[in-house]
């Protein structure tokens, strides 16, 4: 494989990790843990594929994917925010439900093909050696992910909405006593987060590998949740983390001729995720670290008024 090709596939794989991770960061920053990423991603992947196949327009497919992601996230929001249910179990239900739903949505489309989103070279930038073809000769969703990172960072840390979201995630009562509608903020964050997961799912079937097979996400949704932890709930580090994980993903294919059994190489993304989680688990346990960075303090804690 040429180095450009490797680089290019890393960007492709990383984009798939990056978009849902940004969504999960938004969700968790508001204090809600949504473990249903896998379910939202795979359902929206199926939906996006189906709609693209039926309409012939990939962008409508992408919108459909985002809609499915948002609707599934809404279920989680209702259970965990309105009814104060266990967010862990609710998220697991969402994953299982989404997996089932994807089968239903995609059942008539197995083995069909669609025209994938075409790369749009960016004038001037795509001619730069190596970086041009790797980063700037991509489809529109990859560019969207480039833009989403600073946008999310900006919203979270440089706007009023951002400080409100972070306050809700750190101490919802503090936000409430200052006149903030905690429930509304959490609903919006969870739904928007779900839509970003939907975008990630859509990217998979509309741009990355334009075909639908059952279970094609293969647990990558769970890596997204781990990635959110590894990125310390920050969009910029999420970008770095996604590219690192994208690299693990692509590297498994370049090891294939090395003589190491394929199954072991395929374990690489999962084992590296586990290793990161363990390391971060130890790191975040330190008190001095904890008071500066770490999970939003109200993550997974239900909010009751009064």
């Amino acid at each position: 494989m040429s180095i450009v090709l490797i680089g290019s596939s890393i960007v492709t794989a990383a984009t798939f990790f990056l978009i849902p991770t940004l969504g999960e960061i938004l969700t968790e920053r508001s204090g809600i843990l949504n473990l249903g990423v896998e379910g939202m991603v795979i359902s929206s992947a199926a939906a996006a594929f189906a709609v693209t196949y039926l309409t012939g327009n990939a962008m409508i497919g992408v919108l459909a994917g985002m809609a499915v992601g948002g609707i599934l996230a809404l279920i989680h929001a209702i259970l965990s925010i309105t009814f104060n249910r266990n967010q862990v179990v609710s998220g697991i239900s969402l994953t299982v439900f989404g997996t089932g739903l994807s089968g239903l949505l995609g059942r008539d489309f197995v083995g069909r093909t669609i025209a994938a989103l075409q790369p749009i070279p960016i004038l001037g930038l795509s001619d730069i050696p190596f970086f041009g073809p790797v980063f700037f000769n991509k489809d529109i969703l990859v560019y969207a992910s480039f833009i989403l990172v600073p946008v999310l960072w900006f919203i979270l840390f440089r706007t009023r909405i951002g400080i409100v979201i972070r306050t809700v995630g750190e101490n919802p009562a503090a936000a409430y006593t200052q006149g903030i509608n905690v429930i509304l903020v959490r609903y919006l964050c969870v739904i928007l987060g779900g839509m970003l997961c939907g975008l990630g799912g859509a990217y998979m079937t509309v741009a990355w590998m334009p075909a639908w097979t059952e279970g094609m996400t293969g647990g990558r949704g769970w890596i997204v949740i781990a990635l959110t932890v590894v990125a310390l709930w920050h969009p910029i580090t999420a970008f770095l983390g996604a590219y690192l994980f994208g690299m693990f993903h692509v590297l498994q294919f370049s090891f294939q001729l090395s003589g190491i059994p394929v199954a072991f190489i395929n374990m690489l993304p999962y084992l590296s995720t586990i290793a990161f989680l363990l390391a971060w688990g130890i790191l975040l346990n330190k008190q001095k670290v904890k008071r500066i960075i770490g999970a939003p303090s109200a993550l997974c804690v239900p909010f009751e008024k009064g």
Partner: protein, 367 residues
């Protein structure tokens, strides 16, 4: 909440709901879960009532179907009962799938290593190995649950542990344990005769069912059942305390790590046993796709059964029937994954039902 004509209030219940009420609420949640799936089926142009009826008929009222249901029930019950133990202590284990798979690996490993041992020695040895490896796969989750401060990290970890287990099987059946007569199928050779668990002739109900029922009884008797409000064992009491209020448990000197380890060893071990039973009693070969999500269905089985052994027997029977009747689902032109649709949807409503067990809704019409 005040709407124009009606005021709705949610009030905490003082007492626990009566047994009857909790059964009714659970059955209602089951019905609503099935209802949502039915609606989705309607959208796909499948008649849900007919389909449900057919599943039910095949699974419980045909001889073949009933045998198949009971056979499917063995791993589901085993996993579900095992999961209920950490769930009662509020420890989330969603990695039963992985623990099931390594249990199967252990069984195959022992069977292929000592094919000449007599069955009375070999089969117990396989179960022991399956329990041990399943438990080993679960221990990191327990440690992470106690040590890791990020909520949900243990859940993610327990899930991620599934993939190495799966890929390990892929490696084994492509490498050391590849079936020489497999014609390209990724599977192991047939298990040695001495390692095959006796089946009821003409069915796939294997003797593991007795082991599973015995374990169910033991867990019920020693950990769950209370008399005069007191469980039989200290462990049972500690699990209840930790599950209801971990802080109070820690304050009274109960070591949460100890409880997490013991419950996860029971849970992982039992998932491992289920794996042994499934490959040595049912499939008789090791294949990567031996599980098809039994570990996840087990989660729903445990919750729908109210984490209570008796309830879990019934809910495992229900889901086993759903799996056995799955033929009908495919006949209706639906993919197998729709089983997950049932799982997810029912789990949603079980979760919602829990809300109505703690709260009651009062409403009055405004003038």
């Amino acid at each position: 909440m005040k709407l124009r004509f009606i005021e709705i209030k949610m009030k905490k219940r003082g007492e626990k709901p009566t047994f009857m009420l909790s059964v009714i609420i659970r059955l209602l949640s089951l019905a609503m879960g099935l209802g949502v799936v039915a609606a989705l089926f309607l959208l796909q142009g499948v008649n849900p009532l007919l389909l449900y009826f057919n599943i039910f008929r095949v699974a419980f009222f045909t001889q073949y179907g009933l045998a198949e249901t009971l056979s499917r029930m063995i791993p589901l019950l085993c996993i579900g009962i095992g999961l209920s133990v950490p769930f009662r202590a509020k420890i989330d284990n969603i990695g039963a799938e992985g623990q099931f798979l390594v249990g199967a690996i252990a069984a195959a490993g022992v069977a292929f290593s000592f094919p000449d041992l007599p069955a009375v020695l070999l089969i117990p040895l396989m179960f022991a190995a399956g329990f041990a490896l399943g438990a080993l796969w679960a221990i990191p989750v327990a440690i992470f649950r106690v040590m890791g401060k990020f909520k949900g990290a243990d859940v993610v970890l327990s899930f991620l542990m599934v993939f190495p287990a799966y890929l390990l099987i892929v490696y084994l059946v492509n490498g050391p344990w590849k079936d020489p007569e497999g014609w390209g199928f990724t599977q192991s050779p047939l298990f040695p005769v001495n390692s095959q668990i006796w089946q009821l002739p003409g069915t796939r109900i294997h003797l593991t069912i007795l082991l599973v029922l015995a374990l169910t009884f033991l867990i019920h008797y020693y950990l769950v059942r209370t008399k005069e409000g007191i469980p039989e064992t200290k462990l049972g009491y500690e699990i209840n305390v930790v599950g209801e209020n971990p802080e109070a448990g820690a304050a009274a000197g109960i070591n949460f790590l100890k409880i997490a380890l013991i419950t996860m060893i029971i849970s992982g071990g039992m998932a491992g046993l289920a794996g042994v039973g499934e490959v040595a009693g049912n499939l008789l070969r090791l294949r990567p796709e031996i599980s098809t999500g039994l570990g996840f269905t087990g989660i729903v089985v445990a919750w729908l059964g109210g984490l209570n052994p008796l309830g879990i027997i019934l809910s495992s029977l229900f889901f086993a029937g759903l799996l056995a009747g799955g033929v009908e689902i495919q006949m209706a032109g639906l993919p197998v994954t729709v089983i997950d649709l049932f799982n997810g949807s029912i789990l949603f409503f079980v979760l919602l039902a829990e809300f109505f067990m703690r709260f009651k809704i009062e409403w009055r019409i405004l003038k």
